[in-house]
C-alpha cells in the first residue's frame, strides 16, 4: 500500500516534469503546443544516441538534450509560431499539431520504428526509502522534476524577467507599450519550456523505451495535467501531474491495473465539472 503510494508519487513527479514545460508555454504565449509529446521524443532520442554512440550517461546528457530542445523550441517559435500569430489562434494550434506529425514521421524515417532500450545506466537499480524499494531512475527524475519546477517557479514569479513574462501573458500590447519586447519574451519561453521537456525526456530513457511515437504515451497525460491544473499554471500542472501518478498507482493497487486510465479521466472530469478553469485557475 505504502509502496504503491510512493511509486505513484514518483511516477507523478515524472508526469509533472513533462507537463511543466507545456504549462509554461501555454500560460505565457497562449499557444497549446501539440508537438510537446514529440519534443519529449526528441529529448529521449538525443539521450539515447549520446549513450549509444558516445557512452554518455543520460544523467550527463540531460543538460545537453535540454539545450538541443531549447534550440528546437526557438526554431519552432521563430519559423512557425511567430509568423502565424497574426491569424486566428486556431491556426497556430493546428500548426503545432502539424509540427508534431512532421517530427514523428521524421523520427520514423531517421531512426526506424524499432523500440530501443538503454542498457544499465548509472541510475539503474533500486533505492530503499523508508523501507520502500523504488527505482533509482524514477527517484532521480522525480527530484530533478522538483528542482526544475522550483526554478521555473522562481523565474516566473520572483524575477524581473518573470514579471515581464507575466506582463506579456496578461496583455501583450500593453507590455510592448512599456518597452517589453513581447516577441523576445515569447521566444525565450518557448526555449525554456522545450528545454524542460528535453531534460525530462533524457532522464526518462533510463527506465523507459524509446520509439518514434513515444510522445503519445506521455503527451496525453501531460495535456490532462495542464488542463486539470488550470491553463498555464505551473504549480497547477505540477500538482496535477503528481495527482495523476498517485491516482494511477492506487487504482492499479486497489482496483485493477486495467482501470488506471479510466480513473485518471474520471478524476479529470470531476475536476473540470467543479472547477472548469482547473485547480489553480488563471494567473
Amino acid at each position: 500500500m505504502f509502496e504503491a503510494l510512493a511509486t505513484g508519487l514518483f511516477n507523478g513527479l515524472i508526469y509533472a516534469a513533462i507537463a511543466v514545460g507545456l504549462a509554461l508555454i501555454w500560460g505565457i504565449t497562449d499557444v497549446i503546443n501539440f508537438a510537446h509529446g514529440d519534443f519529449l521524443m526528441l529529448g529521449m532520442y538525443a539521450a539515447y544516441w549520446m549513450f549509444t554512440l558516445g557512452h554518455v550517461d543520460p544523467t550527463l546528457s540531460a543538460p545537453i538534450a535540454a539545450c538541443l530542445l531549447a534550440f528546437v523550441g526557438f526554431l519552432s517559435y521563430a519559423v512557425i509560431i511567430r509568423p502565424l500569430q497574426r491569424g486566428s489562434p486556431m491556426i497556430v494550434i493546428l500548426a503545432t499539431f502539424g509540427l508534431g506529425l512532421v517530427l514523428r514521421q521524421l523520427a520514423f524515417i531517421a531512426f526506424s520504428p524499432d523500440y530501443r532500450n538503454l542498457p544499465d545506466t548509472w541510475l539503474s537499480g533500486a533505492v530503499n526509502l523508508a523501507g520502500v524499494s523504488l527505482g533509482r531512475p524514477q527517484v532521480a527524475t522525480g527530484l530533478v522534476a522538483l528542482v526544475v519546477t522550483g526554478l521555473l517557479f522562481l523565474l516566473v514569479y520572483r524575477t524581473r524577467w518573470g514579471h515581464a513574462l507575466q506582463a506579456v501573458a496578461e496583455d501583450r500590447q500593453a507590455a510592448s507599450f512599456v518597452g517589453i519586447a513581447a516577441d523576445r519574451i515569447n521566444a525565450q519561453v518557448w526555449m525554456l519550456g522545450s528545454a524542460a521537456v528535453g531534460l525530462a525526456g533524457a532522464l526518462l530513457t533510463s527506465f523507459f523505451y524509446v520509439f518514434p511515437s513515444v510522445g503519445s504515451v506521455f503527451g496525453l497525460l501531460a495535456f490532462v495535467a495542464v488542463a486539470m491544473g488550470g491553463f498555464g499554471s505551473l504549480p497547477g500542472a505540477f500538482i496535477s501531474g503528481i495527482l495523476i501518478g498517485v491516482v494511477e498507482s492506487m487504482t492499479g493497487y486497489l482496483v485493477e491495473p486495467a482501470y488506471k486510465m479510466v480513473s485518471i479521466f474520471v478524476i479529470f472530469l470531476l475536476v473540470l465539472w467543479y472547477r472548469p478553469r482547473g485547480l489553480f485557475g488563471r494567473w
Binding site: 520514423f108 542498457p119 527505482g135 520509439f211 504515451v217
Partner: protein, 416 residues
Amino acid sequence: MKKLFAVLMASLGIALAQGASAQQKVIKIGAVYPLSGALASTGGELKQAIELAEDIINNPHPELKGIPLAAGAGLPKLGGAKIQVVFSDSQGKPGIGQAEAERLIDQEHVVALTGAYQSDVTKTASRIAEQRGIPYLNGESSSPDLTQRGYKWFFRTTPNDETFIHNMMEFLDGLKNQPTKKIAVVYENTDFGVNTYKAVQKFAKQSGREIVANIAYSAGSPSLNSETQKLAAAKPDVAIFASYTSDAMLFVRTMRQMNYAPPIFLANDAGFIDSRFISEVGPQVQGVLTRDVWSNDLYTVKPIIKQVNDMFKAKTGKDLNGNSARSLQGVLVLADAINRAGSTNPEAIRKALADTNLSADQIIMPWAGVKFDSNGQNLKGQGLILQLEGKQYQTVWPANYKKKQNLPILPFTWKK
C-alpha cells in the same frame, strides 16, 4: 496463298497473344499488415518474409525439396502465372485494416487475402472477405475465436492460443523439480491477451493448477509498476505473459528494478520473440521461456528450415522467427491452393483450400502438416517451448525437437 498467309498470321497472332498472357498474367494476393504505428517493426519483418515466399513461388528453387511450387517458376496449373502480393498498411488499427481489405478487393482486384498479424485486425479484415466471398488465409493470428465464427471463407494455418496454452501445460507437467501449481497471468487487455487468459483458465483447471493472479493491463502504458507489484505479491510458481514488444521490455525493466523474478517466467510468444526484444533486453533476461511456433535450432531436425532461414538472412540480415516463418508458410499454402484450383475463381480457390492436405515434409513449420477442419482451423499444428540462451531461443519442448539436453535451466533469476 493469301488465305494461307492469313491463317499463318492469325495463328501467329494467337500464339503471341497466348505467350503474352502467360508472360504477363499476374495473380494478385492482398496482404494487410501493420506497416506503421507501434507494431511497424514486426509488420516490416512479416512483409519481408512474404516477399521471400513470393520469390520461392515465382522463381525456380529446386533446392527446397518437398515444398510445393518451390521447384518451378510460378503456378504451373495457371500457365506459369506469377503471384504478386499487394501490401497495405493497417496501422495496427482494426478499422483501417477493414478499409484496406475493402480497397484491396475492390480496387486492386486481389483473388485472396492474407494477414493481418494482430487478431483484432484479422477479425475485421476477414469479415469483409467473408461478405465479398473472397478466400482469406491467415498465417499468424492465434485468437481462438477467429475460427469459431462459422465462416466459410476463412482459413488459418497457425495453431491457435488454445492449442498453445494446452502445450504450455504439457510442458509444465514434464517439469519434475519445480513447483508449477500456482499460476499468474499478466496480459494486455486486447483480444490476444484476454484469449490467452481464458485459455490458461481452462487448461490450468484441467491440469489441476490454480490461478493466483489475473493481471490485465493497457498496452503502451507509461508505467507498469502496479502490475508488477501485484504480480510479486501473488508469489506464483509460474508467471505467464501475453505482451507485445514495448510492454515486454518495460516489464523486464520494471521487474528487474524491483528485483522480482518469477521462478518460471513463461511468455506467450508475441513481444518476447521480437528480434528487437532480444537485442535490447535479451542480455538481462537470460533464461526466460516462451511458447513459440519456431526456433532456429530446428535445423538439426528439419534441414529445410536452415535453407529457408539462410535465404531470409541473405535478404534481410535477420533470422526468421515464429511470426515471419508463419506468414511465409501461410502464403505458400495459399499459393499452393490457388495453383491446385487452376483458376482465379474465388469458389475454386476456397474449395482447393478446404482440400489442402500437406504432410510434415511439405511445409517449413515444425508441424505434422496442414489440413483444415470445417471451421478453417489447421488441425496439424503445435507449439514449442523455448528458453533464451545468449542471443538465441533454444527448444526445450517437445523432446523430439530438443537439441540442448541441459535445458531448461530453472528457476529463472535476473542476470546482473
